[in-house]
């Protein structure tokens, strides 16, 4: 178990240092989320006061849209020079590949969120008055569930030639319960309702995160075995 973790950190470190050097994926993700915000500001007039109601949903829309871009690259990038085979023939447990990738993707998406969510608030002229701690907690647990399932399905989709098209189709239906919970909880925090109402949703998200983390962890080796 300790080995799995340290190998996972090695793999995540490789991915992240690679990313920080080229800034290709992360740059695209940030620009893309900004564009999504822009397009939505055309759709919903930001000067209108009722628009505040769509902000919680927008947070998750930009997270999923830009996150899917990053997830698409996650395993496809390993196919160049057949690096994935190199990893699989290395003396590591295959689940450490999954954990490493999850870690790297989670870091990437959270970085993108720390840029895109303030931009969203800024452009939609929203003044944040809720509890920041709860907000961060909700965003992180929602994002984590998204990445857990997303990384897994990105590995699955990487087997197909049209993986970029396949991934969203596989991912979005599985994310639906998480997104319902995430959007509801975010709404509660942002409109400053009772935090205790959000706790139920947060519990649902945590249960989802843990259940799918466990399932993906166990099933990952079956995806890697193939070919």
């Amino acid at each position: 178990m300790k080995d799995i973790l340290s190998d996972a950190i090695t793999i995540a470190g490789k991915d992240l240092s690679n990313e920080f050097k080229t800034k290709q994926t992360i740059g695209t993700m940030v620009i893309f989320s900004a564009l999504v915000i822009l397009v939505f500001s055309f759709a919903f007039d930001p000067t209108n006061n009722t628009v505040k109601a769509v902000i919680p949903g927008l947070i998750w829309v930009i997270t999923i849209f830009s996150g899917t871009l990053g997830l698409n690259r996650s395993f496809v990038s390993e196919l160049e020079n057949n690096c994935l085979t190199g990893l699989r023939s290395a003396p590591i447990d295959v689940t450490s590949i999954y954990l490493g990738k999850t870690l790297a993707n989670f870091t990437l998406v959270t970085i993108v969120q720390t840029i895109s969510i303030p931009v969203l608030f800024l452009l939609f002229n929203y003044r944040f008055t809720g509890s920041l701690l709860w907000f961060i907690l909700i965003v992180l647990s929602g994002t984590f569930g998204f990445i857990v399932v997303g990384t897994f399905l990105s590995a699955l989709a990487a087997n197909a030639k049209n993986s970029e098209m396949l991934l969203p189709v596989l991912l979005l239906p599985l994310l639906s319960p998480l997104m319902i919970a995430a959007v509801q909880a975010t709404t509660i925090v942002l409109v400053n309702e009772q935090i205790s109402d959000a706790i139920g949703w947060l519990q649902l998200m945590t249960a989802y995160d843990l259940l799918f983390l466990g399932a993906c962890f166990l099933l990952f080796e079956f995806i890697m075995e193939g070919s």
Binding site: K21, N81, T85, S89, D93
Partner: protein
């Protein structure tokens, strides 16, 4: 050779892929410090055989014994003893040679990675380029670097899948030199090749794989020259 210690033994290996019997009972023995070449026509199952041995594919039947231990699905320790050089380089094109080696070194739990990586890069003649992303490397340079990657963990068994393809003369002689050096310190080498010249130059014995079976083996010594070996091979293939 001092004593014949068996490093790798494959017993009756079978593999079914898409309802086709790719390997039908391959048995092989590889002694410590021996170089064994596996030759055979296209589609004979050479690559599948390698993938099963390395553990990338789960064999449908049979046993693979590395250094006295039966390989199972998750035996990271035995996988560490095998150095696998495939068709592709397994290297990350955005990383530099040093970073690539460092990454794989960490996964293979190599001690004092940096000094070892530097030394290996010197050996394969890439020391000058150690900080250049390998995106711009030629096929020969990549192959040299992948040799360095394989050597990094000091494997006891080297598995080389057509290592000579696409290499120029210098790189070939460098590769042969490294392989022979490794052999002298007791590393066993399993080699797949189409290149009879290199097989003749390197291998101690040669096995012919056809239609998923080893149909003939022969020791290579001084009196079996290139012509004779080619004759023997075509005879074995047409008979088998």
């Amino acid at each position: 050779m001092k004593e014949l210690e068996i490093m790798l033994e494959i017993k009756n290996l079978t593999k079914i892929l898409s309802d086709k019997l790719i390997l039908r009972g391959v048995s092989l023995k590889l002694n410590k410090g021996e170089i064994l070449a596996v030759v055979g026509p296209n589609g004979a199952g050479k690559s599948t055989f390698f993938k099963c041995t390395v553990g990338l594919l789960q064999p449908s039947g049979g046993e693979i014994i590395v250094d006295g231990e039966i390989i199972k699905k998750k035996s990271a320790a035995t996988r560490k003893k095998i150095g696998f050089l495939g068709h592709e380089s397994f290297l990350y094109s955005t990383l530099t040679p040093l970073e690539n080696l460092r990454f794989y070194g960490k996964l293979y739990k190599v001690k004092s990675i940096d000094s070892k990586a530097n030394q290996l890069l010197k050996e394969v003649g890439l020391h000058l380029f150690k900080d250049v992303p390998i995106r711009s490397f030629s096929r020969g340079m990549l192959q040299r670097l992948s040799i360095a990657r394989v050597m990094l963990a000091d494997p006891e068994i080297l598995m080389l899948d057509e290592p000579h393809t696409g290499l120029d003369q210098d790189a070939v002689s460098l590769l042969n030199m490294i392989i022979k050096e490794k052999k002298n310190i007791g590393t066993s080498v399993l080699l797949i090749s189409h290149d009879f010249e290199q097989v003749q130059a390197l291998a101690d014995s040669v096995a012919v794989l056809k239609k998923g079976k080893i149909i003939d083996t022969a020791p290579l010594n001084a009196d079996l020259n290139l012509e004779k070996m080619k004759d023997w091979y075509s005879r074995a293939v047409s008979e088998g």
